[in-house]
C-alpha cells in the first residue's frame, strides 16, 4: 500500500463499530467494541470516545472480558492473534499467536486460562467449514507467546458471533448452524445434536440464527429465521428434550441475550424493537420500539443495569434499566450505497452523505464523529424487508452553506417514479437546516445532476434529468411573505437528448450541460446557448470547469475512454487523452484536479492541472475496484510542504470511498507529525470519563494542582507545617471568649502562612484568589491558599440551610480555621 515515503494512504475514521457485540465493563463505566483494526473504548455515561487499543494488524473479530481479571480484556483478530489488554490505560499486556485467522472468541469463568476460538478447519482449504477450538493460554513472562495447542471441541460451527454460548456455569457449550443445535457437555465430554425439519411449508424458515444460554438454569434460547424463539430444556439426553416457542418478531431474530440473573431474555431483529421477555411468564413482554435501525447485537453489563444494542446503521445504543435510551454512539453510517456522492458542508466542513434511510448524515472528518442526522424524507420508516422506501439520491450545498437542496426518490415496481426536490434554509438560531420548499415531481424522470450556482449574487439551482430537460430554480422573493420560496425559472433542452451532467464555472457566469455526446455552454444570466462542444464518440460522463488560473478550460470525461479539455476562449479542443476516467474532482481551493481511472480491476489516481501536460502526482493501483466517490475537503490550516509531490495536498485533503465502502485519504509526513503532536497535547486523564465540563474545568484544576506541587517543594512544606500546627494548637487551647475577634485572627493567620511562600507563588495565588472571589466574600479570601480547603468548601455551603448574613460570615470564619487546622493535621 505504501509506495511513496512521503504520501501514504490511510484509513480515516468510519470503521464499523457494530461488527461484533460490544462489551460493557464490570463497573459499567466503559463500553468496548471492535472497530476495524482496533478496539475502541467509549464512556457509557457521556458517549464520548475515550481511547482505542491499537496493535492488531487485521480486522478485530471479538472482544471479551477476561473472566479472571475484570480490568483486562481479550481481543481476537483475523490476523491470527489473541491479545490481552489493560483497557483502562490502553496497554497491551500479552499477545498470543494462534496462527489461524480467528472469527470469534468465547470465554467462561469455569475454564480459567482457556479461550475458545472459532477458526477455519485446518484440513479444508476452502474456508467454508469452521471449528470451535479450546486454547490453553500458556503462562510466561514474554510479551509474545505462541499458543498453538489447539484442541477441537466442536466441528462444523458457524463463524458468526452469537452462534455459540456457554451454558450454566460453563458446564456445557451450545452452538447452532443451519438447522442444527449442538450441545457439548464438558464433564461427560459428550455432545448431543438436535436438528429441526427444514420446513418444506412455504414461509416456514426454521434455520437457527442465534443462541443464548440461561446463566442459572438448564435452558437454551435459540432464535430462528422465521422470527420464532425456541426455549430448549431437558437437552442432556438425546430423546426426551422439549422446547417451547415464543413468537413476536415477524422477521428473523438477529440476536438473543439473557440478563445476568436470567430473569429476562432480550431479543432483537430487523423491526428495530428491543423485546424484553420475562423468563418465567413468557407471555409477558415489554417493548422498546423505534430504536432507529435493525438490531444486530445485544450486550448486557455484568450487573445487569445497562443494555447496549448494536444496530445495522453503525450505531450502539446504551439503554438504562430497559426503559430509557441513555446514550447513542454513532459511527459513520454506511448504508446500502452512497447515492449523494461525498459533499463538504461549507459551514461546518463536515462530510455529508447518505446516512440512515431517508437521512443525510453530517460527519466530522477531524473528530471522526457523526455530528447530526438531517431527516430529509420525514416519514415513518417501516422496518420490513422488500418495501420500496424513499431514498435521498442527490444533495447539494450552495457556496455559503445557506441552502441545501436534496432530491429523494422512490421507485415502485411497475409504477410511476416519485421524486421530491426539497430546499432547506440554514437557520442560525437552531443551527440546522429548516425545510423551505418542497417540489413534488420536479422532473418526469430521474434527476442525474444537481448543482447550485457558485456566484454570490444569485442563488440558483440547476437540475438535469433523464426526461431531456434541465431546469433552473430561483429563490422567488416575496415582499408580503417574510421568506421566499423556490420556483422554476427556466427549462432548457437540446434536441431532446438526455442530459447526464452539468457544471458551473467558478464565478457562476457559465453553465455547461452534457447532453450525451454534446457539451452545451449556456449563460445563466440570459439563458442563451453560447456554444456547443463535442468529441464523439462517447457520451459525456463528467464535466468540470477549471479554477483560478485555469478557468478558461472545461474538462469532460466521456464513456469511450477519453478525457478532453476544451479551451473556452477559442471554443476548441486543447488536448485529449485516452483514459477511462471514472471520476473527476476539482479542488475548490486550487487549480488541481483529480481523476480516478479504472484499469484492469483496480483504480489509478492522477492529480493534474488542466494547463500542464504532466500530472503533479500519480498513483497506480490505488485500490481494487472502481472509485465511485471522492471529495476534496479543505484543511483547517494550510500545510507548508515545499516538496513538489505533496504540494497538492497543502490546501485540501482528498477523501475517497473504495468499492468496499472504506473511507481512505492521503496523508503526508508533515501532517502525521502534526497529528502526533496534537494527540500528545490532547492526552487527558483516561480514568476520568471525558465530559465537556471536565475539558473546561478539569484541565484547569489539574494544572493548578501541578503548579502547586511544583512550587511547594518539600523544603517549603516542612517549614510551613510546624508553624501552622503551633498556631492551631494555640487557637484550640485558648478559651473562645478570651480570643480576639475572628477577623483579626484571620488576618494574622494568613500573614503567618504567607511568610514561607516565595514571591512568585504569591502572585499566582493572588490571581487564583481573584478568580474564586466571585463565590466567596472578601473575608474568605484566605481560603484558596490551601487546595484542599477550597475543594471542601462548597459542599458545606450547599448543605447548610438558609442563614442570615451575619451567621454566614461567622460560619465562614470558623471554616477557615477548621480547614487550615485539619489540613495541617493531615499533612503531619
Amino acid at each position: 500500500m505504501v509506495e511513496h515515503a512521503e504520501i501514504r494512504m490511510v484509513h480515516r475514521g468510519g470503521s464499523k463499530i457494530n461488527f461484533r457485540e460490544p462489551v460493557i465493563t464490570n463497573d459499567s463505566r466503559f463500553l468496548l467494541c471492535a472497530a476495524g483494526e482496533s478496539v475502541n473504548v467509549y464512556s457509557t455515561s457521556t458517549e464520548e470516545y475515550v481511547h482505542d487499543l491499537q496493535g492488531h494488524t487485521g480486522l478485530v473479530t471479538g472482544v471479551v472480558l477476561n473472566p479472571s481479571n475484570h480490568l483486562q480484556v481479550y481481543s481476537c483478530s483475523a490476523d491470527g492473534t489473541v491479545r490481552l489488554w489493560d483497557f483502562t490505560d490502553a496497554i497491551l499486556i500479552k499477545t498470543f499467536i494462534i496462527g489461524y485467522p480467528i472469527y470469534s472468541i468465547y470465554v467462561s469463568e469455569k475454564h480459567g486460562g482457556v479461550v475458545f476460538l472459532v477458526v477455519p478447519m485446518a484440513n479444508y482449504k476452502s474456508s467454508e467449514l469452521f471449528q470451535l477450538v479450546a486454547v490453553h493460554l500458556p503462562h510466561s513472562g514474554d510479551q509474545e507467546v505462541e499458543a498453538r495447542e489447539l484442541s477441537a471441541v466442536l466441528c462444523d460451527v458457524s463463524p458468526h458471533a452469537g452462534a455459540a454460548s456457554f451454558g450454566r456455569e460453563g458446564e456445557y457449550i451450545a452452538a447452532v448452524r443451519g438447522l442444527q443445535l449442538e450441545v457439548f457437555f464438558f464433564k461427560k465430554q459428550k455432545s448431543y445434536r438436535f436438528s429441526l425439519k427444514s420446513g418444506k411449508k412455504k414461509g416456514a424458515k426454521n434455520a437457527f440464527t442465534c443462541i443464548s444460554c440461561h446463566p442459572k438454569e438448564d435452558c437454551i434460547a435459540t432464535g430462528h429465521e422465521d422470527g420464532k424463539i425456541r426455549m430448549w430444556r431437558n437437552f442432556n439426553q438425546k430423546k426426551e428434550y422439549t422446547y417451547s416457542t415464543l413468537h413476536w418478531h415477524h422477521g428473523a431474530v438477529n440476536t438473543l441475550c439473557f440478563t445476568p440473573e436470567g430473569t429476562n431474555l432480550l431479543s432483537g431483529g430487523i423491526e428495530s424493537v428491543l423485546v424484553h421477555w420475562h423468563y418465567t411468564q413468557e407471555n409477558q413482554k415489554d417493548f422498546l420500539p423505534r430504536l432507529g435501525a435493525a438490531i444486530t447485537h445485544i450486550a448486557v453489563s455484568p450487573d445487569g443495569s445497562l443494555f447496549s444494542t448494536s444496530h445495522s446503521d453503525n450505531k450502539i445504543t446504551i439503554i438504562q434499566s430497559c426503559v430509557k435510551v441513555s446514550a447513542v454512539i454513532q459511527g459513520l453510517v454506511k448504508g446500502d450505497g452512497v447515492w449523494t456522492n461525498l459533499i463538504i458542508d461549507p459551514r461546518s466542513k463536515a462530510l455529508v452523505l447518505n446516512g440512515k434511510p431517508g437521512h443525510l448524515q453530517f460527519y466530522s472528518l477531524h473528530r471522526d464523529k457523526q455530528l447530526y442526522n438531517l431527516d430529509i424524507v420525514q416519514q415513518e420508516y417501516i422496518h420490513e424487508e422488500g418495501l420500496d422506501q424513499f431514498e435521498v439520491v442527490k444533495a447539494a450545498f450552495d457556496a455559503r452553506g445557506d441552502w441545501l437542496a436534496t432530491v429523494e426518490e422512490r421507485r415502485k415496481k411497475g409504477a410511476e417514479l416519485e421524486i421530491n426536490l426539497k430546499l432547506w434554509a440554514y437557520d442560525e438560531l437552531t443551527q440546522s437546516f429548516v425545510l423551505n420548499t418542497t417540489v413534488t415531481a420536479p422532473h418526469e424522470d430521474q434527476i442525474t445532476a444537481m448543482f447550485f450556482s457558485p456566484s454570490p449574487e444569485t442563488t440558483m439551482l440547476v437540475t438535469t434529468s433523464l426526461d431531456g430537460h434541465f431546469k433552473a430554480w430561483l429563490l422567488a422573493d416575496h415582499s408580503d411573505a417574510n421568506e421566499g420560496f423556490w420556483a422554476c425559472d427556466f427549462v432548457g433542452g437540446y434536441h431532446l437528448l438526455k442530459p447526464g451532467c452539468c457544471s458551473f464555472s467558478a464565478d457562476g457566469s457559465l453553465l455547461s450541460v452534457g447532453f450525451q455526446e454534446v457539451v452545451t455552454v449556456w449563460s445563466p444570466a440570459s439563458w442563451e446557448l453560447l456554444t456547443t462542444l463535442s468529441q464523439p464518440p462517447g457520451a459525456i460522463r463528467d464535466l468540470c470547469f477549471g479554477r483560478l488560473s485555469c478557468s478558461k478550460y472545461l474538462l469532460g470525461a466521456s464513456t469511450k475512454n477519453q478525457l478532453c479539455c476544451w479551451n473556452l476562449l477559442t471554443c476548441s479542443l486543447e488536448w485529449s487523452t485516452p483514459m477511462d476516467v471514472s471520476l473527476l474532482q476539482t479542488d475548490p481551493l486550487s487549480e488541481n484536479m483529480a481523476a480516478f481511472c479504472s484499469q484492469s480491476g483496480s483504480s489509478d489516481l492522477f492529480v493534474f492541472k488542466p494547463s500542464e501536460p504532466r500530472p503533479l502526482y500519480s498513483q497506480k493501483a490505488l485500490c481494487t475496484g472502481k472509485v465511485q466517490h471522492a471529495v476534496f475537503a479543505p484543511r483547517d490550516q494550510m500545510l507548508e510542504s515545499c516538496e513538489e509531490r505533496t504540494q497538492w495536498l497543502n490546501r485540501s485533503q482528498l477523501y475517497f470511498f473504495t468499492q468496499h465502502m472504506d473511507l481512505l485519504t492521503f496523508s503526508t509526513k508533515t501532517e502525521e507529525d502534526r497529528l502526533l503532536a496534537s494527540s500528545k497535547q490532547l492526552m487527558v486523564d483516561d480514568s476520568v470519563a471525558v465530559t465537556p465540563f471536565y475539558l473546561l474545568l478539569g484541565k484547569h484544576r489539574g494544572q493548578q494542582l501541578e503548579k502547586q506541587e511544583a512550587l511547594t517543594n518539600p523544603m517549603a512544606e516542612r517549614t510551613q507545617l510546624p508553624q501552622g500546627s503551633i498556631a492551631i494548637k494555640e487557637l484550640l487551647h485558648t478559651p473562645a471568649h478570651v480570643l480576639p475577634s475572628a477577623s483579626f485572627l484571620c488576618a494574622m493567620f494568613v500573614r503567618s502562612l504567607l511568610i514561607s511562600s516565595s514571591s512568585a507563588r504569591e502572585e499566582k495565588e493572588h490571581e487564583e484568589g481573584e478568580m474564586e472571589r466571585e463565590e466567596e466574600d472578601s473575608e474568605g479570601e484566605a481560603d484558596p491558599r490551601l487546595g484542599e480547603s477550597a475543594a471542601w468548601g462548597p459542599p458545606e455551603e450547599f448543605g447548610a440551610p438558609a442563614l442570615t448574613k451575619a451567621q454566614e460570615r461567622e460560619l465562614r470564619k470558623v471554616k477557615t480555621f477548621d480547614h487550615s487546622w485539619l489540613s495541617s493535621l493531615l499533612d503531619c
Binding site: G292, G386, Q389, G493, H495, T532
Partner: protein, 528 residues
C-alpha cells in the same frame, strides 16, 4: 428512541384568491338583505346625519330606509314620472330629486309635500345636488343644460349649455360652493365655476360618462363611462392619471370607502370591484345577481347598498365583533378557561429550578391507528364522511402511506357492501382529480382485483362500478383531446419562434461537431 413521525399531508396550492387584509375586510359582511323596489334602483344616497338613513330612488318613488330597517321609514310619492337622483342636503334636513317630467322637487325630510318645485328644464332631470353652502341646487338634464337654482326664492341662477348630449352625472365640490363638475354622454367632463360664465376645464373621457366622483381632497377626479374608470388630476389641469379597464360592461356607479383608501366601481356586468387607490389594483370583487345601477357605502363602511336593474335593493351589513366571536364559539366546545390555564400562567421565581416536561405530541386518529399497524382501522378513520368530503387530501395521504407500507391491498380487502360503496363513492369523486390520480388509480385497480368475484351480487356496487367506468372513459377522452390541442399549440409556437443560429467561432482546430449539424434549428426553449 425516535418518536412516531406522523403521516405527511401534502399541502396543495389553494386555487382562487389569496387571502389578503383586503379580502378579510370585505368578506366581513353578513349575508345581504334584499328588498324589492318598484323599478330599477337608479340612485342611493346616505344622509350624513347620525342614524344614517338612506334615500333609494326607484321608479316614481323615493324610499328612505333606516340603517337596519327592511321597511321604508318614509316615502315620497309625489312624482308624475320616474324620479332620479334623490339626494340629501349635508345637514340631512332637505332632499332634492329630479324627475323625467323635467321638474326638480325639494322636500323636507319630515314632510310629505314638496317645499319647492324648480321648473325650467325642458327634459328629464337626471342629476341633482346641493352646493356646499346649502343654499343652491345643481341640476343636469337631458336638454344638455346644467343649471344652478337658489333655494330660498326658487329661482334659476345660471344655466350652462356647453354639453352636446345628455348630462347624466354631476357632483358639487364640498370645499368650494361655486365649483361643480358634470359628465355627459358627449364623452366630456366639464368643471364649472359659478362665478364664471363658461366651464373652466374640460376632460375627454372618450366614452359616455355615467358617473363622477371627487376625492375628499378634491385634487383627483374619478369618472366612469363605458368599460373604463379614469382618474384625472385636477391640480395638473385635468391630466389623465390612470385608466382602469376591469369591467366587461358599462361602469355605472363609483364610490369611495370611508377612509378614502379604496375605490369601488359597480357595473352592468353584475360586479363591484374594489381598487386600492395607491396602485389602482383590484383587491376585491363582489358578485350580484343582476346588473348594478347604483351603489353606496354607509359611513365607516357599516353597510354596502347596491341597487340593481331588476329593482332589487341589496344591503350588506358589516359583522359586529360580538357576532364574529359567537361564530367562532359555535364551532368548538372549549374547555372551561380556568381549567385550561391551570398552572400555565405560573411565572417562575428567580431561584426556581426549571424542569422542562417533554411536550406530548398530538397524533391524529388515523396516525394512532397507523402507529399500532391497524391498517384497516386507519383507512376507516381516514374515510370518515367529513374527512372524506372536506379534506380528501388526508384520505389520499393515508392511502399513499398504506401503499408505501405495502399493506393497501389488505386494508382495502374484507369490506361489506356499505363500506365498499362508501369507498367507491370516494373514488368516483376524486379519481380524476389530477392531485390524487396517481394514488387512487392504484387503489382502484386493487379494489377491482379484490372484488371482481362479487361483481353482480349487489346492485348498489354494480351501479357505482358502471359509473366509475363511464367516468374513466370520459376522462380518457378528455385527456386525448387535450393532448391534441397541446400538439397543435406546439406546432404554432414552433412556427412563430424565430430561427436562431448557434454561434460558431471560426476555429482552425477541430471542434468535433460537424459543420452541417450546426445549422440545425436552435435549442428547444420553453419558458416555465
Amino acid at each position: 428512541m425516535a418518536s412516531f413521525k406522523s403521516t405527511k399531508i401534502p399541502i396543495y396550492p389553494k386555487l382562487g384568491e389569496k387571502v389578503t387584509p383586503d379580502t378579510l375586510y370585505w368578506k366581513n359582511y353578513k349575508a345581504p338583505v334584499q328588498i324589492k323596489e318598484f323599478g330599477a334602483v337608479t340612485s342611493i344616497d346616505f344622509s350624513s346625519l347620525a342614524p344614517h338613513n338612506y334615500a333609494v330612488t326607484a321608479s316614481t318613488r323615493i324610499h328612505i330606509y333606516g340603517p337596519f330597517s327592511t321597511e321604508p321609514v318614509k316615502t315620497f310619492t309625489r312624482f308624475k314620472d320616474t324620479a332620479y337622483s334623490g339626494k340629501f342636503r349635508s345637514d340631512g334636513q332637505l332632499l332634492v330629486a329630479g324627475c323625467e317630467d323635467s321638474m326638480v322637487r325639494l322636500f323636507d325630510v319630515s314632510g310629505k309635500v314638496a317645499l319647492r318645485v324648480f321648473k325650467g328644464h325642458t327634459k328629464g332631470v337626471h342629476v341633482t345636488d346641493f352646493t356646499s353652502d346649502c343654499y343652491h341646487i345643481l341640476t343636469g338634464s337631458d336638454d344638455y343644460t346644467c343649471r344652478l337654482w337658489d333655494i330660498p326664492n326658487s329661482t334659476e341662477l345660471t344655466s350652462y349649455k356647453e354639453h352636446t348630449d345628455y348630462i347624466r352625472c354631476g357632483i358639487t365640490s364640498k370645499l368650494n360652493r361655486d365649483i361643480f363638475i358634470t359628465g355627459s354622454y358627449d364623452h366630456t367632463l366639464r368643471v364649472f365655476d359659478a362665478r364664471v360664465e363658461k366651464s373652466v376645464m374640460t376632460m375627454d373621457h372618450s366614452q359616455p360618462v355615467e358617473s363622477v366622483l371627487l376625492y375628499p381632497s378634491e385634487g383627483l377626479l374619478v369618472s366612469a363611462g363605458g368599460r373604463y374608470v379614469k382618474v384625472w388630476d385636477l391640480l395638473k389641469g385635468g391630466q389623465p392619471l390612470v385608466s382602469l379597464k376591469n369591467h366587461h360592461k358599462t361602469v355605472t356607479c363609483l364610490s369611495l370607502s370611508s377612509n378614502g383608501q379604496r375605490l369601488l366601481s359597480a357595473s352592468l356586468d353584475r360586479h363591484v370591484k374594489i381598487y386600492n387607490t395607491t396602485n389602482y389594483k383590484v383587491v376585491h370583487n363582489f358578485d350580484y345577481a343582476a346588473s348594478i345601477l347604483s351603489l353606496a357605502l354607509a359611513p365607516d363602511d357599516e353597510s354596502i347598498v347596491v341597487g340593481m336593474t331588476n329593482g332589487v335593493l341589496s344591503i350588506k351589513h358589516r359583522k359586529s365583533p360580538e357576532e364574529k366571536r359567537e361564530m367562532a364559539g359555535k364551532q368548538r366546545m372549549q374547555p372551561v378557561y380556568r381549567i385550561f390555564v391551570k398552572g400555565r400562567n405560573y411565572v417562575p421565581k428567580k431561584d426556581d429550578f426549571l424542569v422542562s416536561k417533554p411536550v406530548k405530541s398530538h397524533l391524529a386518529k388515523y396516525d394512532k391507528q397507523l402507529k399500532k399497524f391497524n391498517i384497516s382501522k386507519a383507512l376507516d378513520t381516514a374515510l370518515e364522511s367529513w374527512r372524506r368530503n372536506r379534506k380528501p387530501e388526508i384520505t389520499v395521504a393515508v392511502m399513499k402511506e398504506l401503499d408505501r407500507r405495502g399493506t393497501l391491498k389488505n386494508a382495502l380487502a374484507g369490506r361489506d357492501e356499505q363500506n365498499l360503496s362508501q369507498l367507491l363513492n370516494f373514488l368516483i369523486g376524486n379519481v380524476v382529480d389530477p392531485r390524487f390520480t396517481p394514488v387512487l388509480v392504484t387503489a382502484t385497480e386493487m379494489i377491482l382485483d379484490i372484488y371482481q368475484a362479487v361483481v353482480g351480487q349487489s346492485s348498489v356496487v354494480d351501479r357505482q362500478l358502471v359509473r366509475l367506468q363511464e367516468l374513466v372513459e370520459r376522462e380518457v377522452d378528455y385527456q386525448q383531446d387535450l393532448l391534441e390541442v397541446l400538439g397543435m399549440l406546439d406546432t404554432l409556437f414552433a412556427a412563430s419562434l424565430p430561427r436562431k443560429e448557434v454561434p460558431c467561432p471560426g476555429s482552425s482546430r477541430p471542434n468535433g461537431l460537424a459543420e452541417g449539424s450546426l445549422g440545425a434549428p436552435g435549442p428547444q426553449l420553453k419558458a416555465a
